[in-house]
């Protein structure tokens, strides 16, 4: 089964966060009957706990189901899941490249959001057939007609007769399944041609090695075949091929032929050799050129990760190694901080990626971490003509050696309702945005385009955007090169000692404001000690801001009689425990939370 290409549909679902992608995927899997309702977990596709909690699909996953259509035929549906966050744009594009069509899910009361638009354009760029589905029509605020008009006006695809559903209640799901059969084209390809297959994801399994997720474009991949990864040049012998069940892998020794989606294993030791976007070909009979669109993933955000207790350095190292097995975009190398001791400089796709890794390290590996301020990659052009890429502010050369510096910028698209346009433009202005354009996509909503420095958006831009638009703004961006910029290194001194882990690079014009806010934040985070603690922000030897943590004057339990002793002791023990969770710098104790809190500086 499945060799008849006309009975295969390879597609994905694209949607803004919370518009119901995972719920719709669940319903499709349920209706196609491969799973009993007992097997159904709330969200089958999101199988990492963390993903379920955040409601975001982090790693693309795929399910093959069988649909008995109204025309009496059985169709194989390969539903390819896509990550739903701007940090994972490249992964999204590779998942899309594995599909022939896409379902666009739009919330019947929210309408089109920036991320929807970005993903639709991405899908159209990949020549995917896109058909819309309007979801959540069971909500009181639903306006399916209005949203259908919006889809037609903004995206220019037919939407009036599209399925209008409630994925939650299961209403009209059959319309979606029929539309998949009717509207999504079947795959094409030549079984006999040289093998070319696109890698769109991979997963490390401790028994089988890396499980590589592929879409075969041409040719056939079979167990025993020697294959080669075209970008990395690594060659392997295929051990197993198969399909994706729901939450399990179903081997098929027949192999995968043109048009099919599935997996193979080849005793591959780590995911470094199976880059998303790479082309798999036959070693003996390779294709002349790889499939288009491959990019080596570049981390955009760097941060130092340190064990809170230096004795756990090796545990952190092991944990990072294990995570790296499954996450080719995670980068790390050892580094040393005067303040924090031994740790790692890690590179991430974005702040969400950082937070996810941090949480997994803490949750799955039980590590207590201190994370330093995230930094983007700056380019330093030195007076001697050399160019240095700077990922750790501590390594910034002496200003006398610097000719000029460059910082990465992104092209950002923000969709916002008209009443908040002013707020959002102010925000972009404050974040050194370069205004590009504004266009109204409907009467009350506009698409704003800005060029923004990456270091202005990685920390709390998304939060600020949400709070200044009461949640109505949505946002998407992609890297758009480097620009020359006036940048300085801001150092933080606590009790006259420089805390290297708190240093960061900042636009010279924002340094004063940033330094002041940093000092204020730290003042709130650092508990009072027996002595007064000055907190200073400095550029070089020049102090630009100062706050003081006053010495504690009173800390005494006035009453301690017979009935009080046990409870008062508990209280003192708790306070003592709290102190243990702090790092000592000189004679000042700084809580771990201080290192991250200084990033959230937008107080509005």
């Amino acid at each position: 089964m499945g060799k008849d290409l006309s009975k295969i549909r390879n597609f994905c679902i694209i949607a803004h966060i919370d518009h119901g992608k995972s719920t719709l995927a669940d319903r499709i899997i349920e209706r196609t009957g491969l799973l009993t309702s007992r097997e159904m977990q709330a969200q089958v596709l999101d199988n990492m706990d963390l993903e379920r909690e955040r409601g975001i699909t982090i790693k693309a996953q795929t399910v093959r189901t069988v649909y008995h259509a109204k025309d009496g035929n059985e169709y194989v549906f390969n539903l390819i899941d896509t990550p739903g966050h701007v940090d994972f744009n490249y992964e999204v594009s590779r998942s899309l490249a594995a599909c022939d069509g896409a379902i666009l899910v739009v919330d019947a009361s929210q309408g089109i959001e920036a991320q929807t638009l970005a993903n639709v354009y991405l899908a159209l760029d990949h020549d995917l057939e896109v058909f819309p589905v309007i979801n959540k029509i069971d909500l009181p605020s639903a306006d399916p007609e209005g949203v259908a008009h919006e889809i037609e006006d903004v995206i220019g695809i037919e939407a009036m007769d599209c399925p209008k559903i409630s994925a939650k209640t299961g209403l009209n799901i059959d319309d979606v399944l029929e539309a998949v059969v009717e509207k999504i084209p079947c795959p094409k390809g030549d079984d006999e041609a040289p093998l070319s297959a696109l890698i769109f994801d991979s997963l490390y399994d401790s028994y089988k090695g890396v499980i590589v997720f592929i879409r075969v474009m041409d040719g056939t991949i079979k167990p025993g075949m020697r294959i080669r990864m075209m970008a990395t040049g690594a060659a392997f012998d295929v051990v197993e091929t198969g399909y994706f069940g729901a939450g399990q892998f179903i081997p098929d020794p027949e192999g995968l032929s043109a048009g099919m989606v599935g997996y193979f294993t080849a005793s591959i030791k780590n995911v470094q050799n199976t880059r998303v976007g790479d082309t798999v070909t036959e070693d003996r009979r390779p294709v002349s050129k790889p499939l288009p669109g491959y990019k080596a993933v570049q981390p955009m955000v760097f941060s130092g990760l340190y064990p809170a207790d230096g004795a756990h350095y090796d545990d952190l190292k092991d944990a990072l190694e294990k995570l790296k097995l499954n996450d080719a975009s995670l980068f790390y190398e050892p580094e040393t901080s005067v303040a924090l001791g031994f740790g790692f400089r890690c590179g991430f796709l974005g702040l969400l990626h950082l937070e996810i890794i941090e949480e997994r390290l803490e949750r799955e590996y039980n590590l207590d971490l201190v994370t330093t301020a995230p930094s983007v990659v700056y380019r330093i052009h030195k007076t001697d003509g050399a160019t240095v890429e700077l990922t750790n502010p501590t390594n910034m050369p002496d200003p006398s050696e610097i000719d000029y510096m460059e910082e990465p910028v992104v092209a950002a698209e923000i969709i916002v309702t008209s009443e908040f346009i002013g707020n959002i433009m102010d925000l972009c202005q404050e974040r050194r945005g370069n205004y590009k354009s504004i266009e109204y996509i409907e009467a009350k909503r506009a698409l704003l385009k800005y060029e923004l420095p990456l270091n202005e958006i990685i920390y709390d831009f998304y939060d600020a955007l949400k709070s200044r638009s009461r949640g109505y703004a949505s946002f998407d961006y992609e890297l758009a090169g480097y620009q020359k910029s006036e940048l300085v290194k801001l150092d933080i001194l606590v009790n006259h000692e420089e805390i290297d882990a708190l240093s960061f690079i900042v636009f010279a014009g924002s340094a004063y404001e940033r330094g002041r806010k940093m000092c204020e934040k730290l003042k709130a985070e650092i508990p009072r000690h027996l002595f007064e603690i000055p907190i200073q922000a400095a550029i070089g030897s020049k102090i630009i801001a100062r706050e003081t943590v006053k010495a504690v004057r009173k800390d005494v339990l006035a009453k301690c009689y017979g009935g009080d002793i046990t409870r008062k002791k508990k209280l003192l023990e708790k306070q003592k425990e709290g102190k243990k969770r702090m790092r000592t710098f000189g004679n000042v104790e700084i809580p771990q939370s201080a290192f991250m809190s200084v990033l959230k500086l937008d107080d509005e």
Binding site: L557, A558, G562, G563, T566, Q575
Partner: protein
């Protein structure tokens, strides 16, 4: 002879004060009567404190407001205690009194029953402040009760004051203190206001609706209190306690020096046989298991000896520590003692015979928790 102390908790009051987190509240006459029966039953069946050589050196009726009970009820409980335990020749017997709840007749009855010390919860001499904090009495009513106590023959009276109350300034506080001193009570407790969770004051403070003196002003009050009281002949013997010579509270001193105590009544705590335990916070506490049960290890006991001992101005002597635990406190916590000394919280008085004493400095009493955290 082994010393033993007894505590009786009376969880009733006319009205709950707004800063109070004790187990207490208003109750009907019937509820109070039933409670007295429970108390007597508990006392009669108490398995502890029955050794031949144990002697009760102090009894303390605390609350709540013990003086709210009819005098017969309280005396019945005291008699119950006398029947069950061996009393020392001249034990200290204290009753906490709320001004306005004690008439001369009641005080005389107490006196006859052997009560020899009264502790008045005055808190402030300013009627506006008393009202703010939810006290039921005025300063004038306190005066009346105080004079009545003298009239009934009491020669050991204590007065509680609170510093740092809303509406107080260092000046008004000092004036209030001097007003009370003119009455020459034998003992004074001056407490720093503590905002305990689960009190009305705590909630108000969290909501930013409580105008309290600043920390600097509060400490100014504390320091002034020590100065004024010392000048008037009242020695500070504990963080919040002052007494004329010979009038330190025997009962409370016992808590800080490791004397065993048995508590009766709901929420009352006991320390006996190396264990600390507390009756349940319920009027039917006898039907419920103990709470906060704590079996103290040797290390716990050493830590407590230091922590509680340091509350006292006398401090802790190495000889007493060695007698109890067979080793020097330097051996036990030398580095902590050195650190605290370097930080100026602690001072040690070196003796040629090796019997060093450590005690908190005046600065250390402001920041006593810093020192105490070394001993938990």
């Amino acid at each position: 002879m082994e010393e033993l102390e007894l505590y009786v908790h009376v969880p009733f009051c006319v009205k709950k004060c707004r800063y109070c987190d004790f187990y207490s509240g208003p109750a009907s006459k019937e509820v109070q009567e039933a409670y007295i029966e429970t108390l007597l039953e508990e006392i009669r069946s108490c398995p502890f404190g029955q050794n031949e050589n144990e002697r009760v050196v102090s009894v303390y009726f605390g609350g709540g407001t013990p003086s709210i009970l009819p005098e017969e009820a309280l005396i019945k409980v005291l008699s119950g205690l006398r029947e069950q335990f061996r009393f020392d020749e001249n034990p200290e017997i204290t009753v906490e009194c709320n001004p306005g709840t004690v008439a001369l007749k009641k005080l005389k009855a107490y006196r006859e029953a052997g009560v020899n010390r009264l502790s008045f919860g005055l808190q402030s001499v300013r009627n506006d402040v008393l009202k703010t904090i939810g006290r039921i009495h005025t300063y004038e009513e306190f005066l009346e009760s105080f004079h009545a106590a003298r009239g009934a023959g009491f020669t050991n009276l204590s007065v509680d004051l609170i510093q740092g109350l809303p509406g107080d300034t260092p000046e008004t506080f000092q004036n209030g203190l001097k007003t009370v001193l003119a009455l020459r009570p034998e003992h004074l407790s001056v407490y720093s206001l503590i905002l305990e969770e689960n009190t009305e004051f705590y909630a108000l403070h969290e909501a930013g609706k409580l105008l309290l003196p600043t920390e600097e002003e509060e400490r100014e009050m504390a320091h002034a209190a020590v100065r004024i009281l010392e000048d008037a002949g009242y020695g500070q013997y504990e963080i919040s306690n002052f007494a004329l010579p010979g009038f330190r509270s025997v009962h409370n001193t016992g808590y800080w020096t490791g004397v065993p105590y048995l508590g009766f009544g709901s929420a009352a705590a006991s320390f006996y046989g190396g264990k600390r335990f507390r009756n349940a916070l319920s009027l039917q506490y006898l039907d419920l298991p103990y709470e906060e049960t704590e079996e103290l290890s040797e290390e716990d006991r050493m830590n407590e000896f230091m922590m509680l001992g340091l509350r006292m101005n006398d401090g802790v002597s190495d000889r007493a520590f060695r007698e109890k635990f067979g080793r020097s406190f330097y051996e036990f916590k030398g580095s902590s003692l050195r650190k605290l000394t370097e930080e100026g919280l602690l001072e040690s008085i070196k003796k040629p015979d090796g019997n060093d004493t450590v005690r908190l400095t005046s600065y250390g009493r402001d920041l006593a928790n810093y020192a105490f955290r070394e001993f938990v």
